[in-house]
């Protein structure tokens, strides 16, 4: 490497192929108001690209929870139903029952899914609803300013656990994928993380598998994605990925927890060709 600075304001004039567009095809623009270093837009990319690559663009409906990711709906070139805080799995249930051949996913945060709407997602999984619930887990209510959720790990500082989450006062974190995977109606369960490029690639593999599970009509699928929330964690943006991986990732273990109806307990998804190709890494 040399210190020579190259122009990066325009593509090469010739002899090159574009291998990564600014935004996924199913994204309407790139301008959004989420914080610097937020992990949620990275999760959005994995969802939109998976839908596009599976050829399901004209058959997909998103059901959106309430949290910072709600603001990302302005970017989605998808038919959407906005749910109330916690209620997306029920809305997706009713809509899917009416349109069984469409792809339905919910987009929810840990506050939305593990706090306000815990019973919704458990029941949807137990019923084996043929929907995919996507959980963006950053261990805080990002939207309200960084408060403790049911997934906040012990010791984690939040605005209402300033000394760190203490089990004697605040109890223990819920590991959502671990909780949902064993239920009879759950066909696919996985937890990814967007703390680095390879994590993003693996997360996308999980997303595709979940959508494929749904389109095969096999039952409920859950993809949890660990995402950075530097604002809610009070850490510098550059330290977000490390904090995510080391602090949240130690408790919310990544990997596939159920596939084809079989419990795997956090197995690494075998490196798919695509991951190698894209590969980053």
């Amino acid at each position: 490497m040399s210190d020579e600075v190259l122009r990066s304001d325009r593509p090469p004039e010739s002899g090159a192929t574009r291998t990564g567009e600014f935004k996924p095809t199913l994204q309407l623009g790139t301008d959004h108001d989420l914080c610097a270093g937020c992990g949620e837009p990275l999760a959005l990319r994995t969802i939109l690209e998976s839908i596009e690559e599976l050829g399901l663009a004209q058959r997909t409906i998103g059901v959106i929870g309430i949290g910072c990711y709600t603001a990302l709906t302005s970017l989605m070139d998808l038919d959407l139903i906005q749910a109330l805080h916690g209620r997306a799995p029920s809305l997706a249930t009713g809509a899917k029952r009416m349109l069984p051949d469409r792809l339905f996913f919910t987009l929810q945060g840990d506050g939305d899914m593990a706090n306000e709407g815990l019973q919704e997602v458990i029941h949807a999984a137990a019923r084996g609803e043929n929907i995919t619930c996507v959980l963006l887990n950053n261990g805080v209510f990002g939207e309200t300013g960084g408060h403790m959720t049911a997934t906040t790990v012990l010791g984690q500082r939040t605005k209402n656990t300033l000394e760190g989450r203490d089990a004697t006062q605040h109890g223990y974190p819920i590991q959502m994928v671990d909780l949902l995977a064993p239920l009879g109606g759950t066909a696919y369960a996985a937890r990814g993380s967007v703390h680095d490029a390879s994590g993003v690639v693996k997360t996308k593999v999980m997303m595709r598998r979940a959508f494929e599970t749904q389109m095969r009509g096999e039952g409920f699928s859950i993809v949890e994605i660990l995402t950075m929330c530097p604002t809610g964690w009070f850490v510098p943006t550059a330290k977000g990925p490390g904090y995510l991986n080391e602090v949240l990732g130690a408790v919310h273990v990544t990997g596939e927890w159920k596939r084809d109806g079989r419990l795997l307990r956090g197995a690494e998804p075998e490196a798919p060709n695509e991951a190698k190709e894209r590969g980053a890494v």
Binding site: V5, L6, S8, P12, T19, G20, D196, G279, V281
Partner: protein, 81 residues
């Protein structure tokens, strides 16, 4: 030095989070001291990009477009020149 890849950086969208910097395996991204319209520092590209798309995968603000040269080191391959 030969270039296998190239990135276009939308510096006006950049929020200065620096996630792309450690993500780049050959370390050809570096934060500048310049400010864009929203007051954020943004990255610049040094030579040696492989077109691996790691920056593209981790940027939360969709600031990267990635190109792969058909023939590494070809004449068109030096956009900085």
């Amino acid at each position: 030095m030969s270039q296998r890849g190239h990135v276009v950086i939308d510096i006006e969208r950049c929020k200065g989070c620096e996630l792309c910097i450690p993500a780049c395996p050959p370390q050809v991204l570096r934060m500048t001291g310049e400010h864009n319209r929203i007051g954020a520092h943004y990255p610049e590209l040094l030579s040696g990009c492989t077109g691996c798309r790691a920056c593209w995968l981790v940027c939360p603000d969709f600031c990267f477009e990635v190109w792969q040269f058909d023939e590494p080191g070809a004449p068109g391959a030096r956009p900085g020149e």
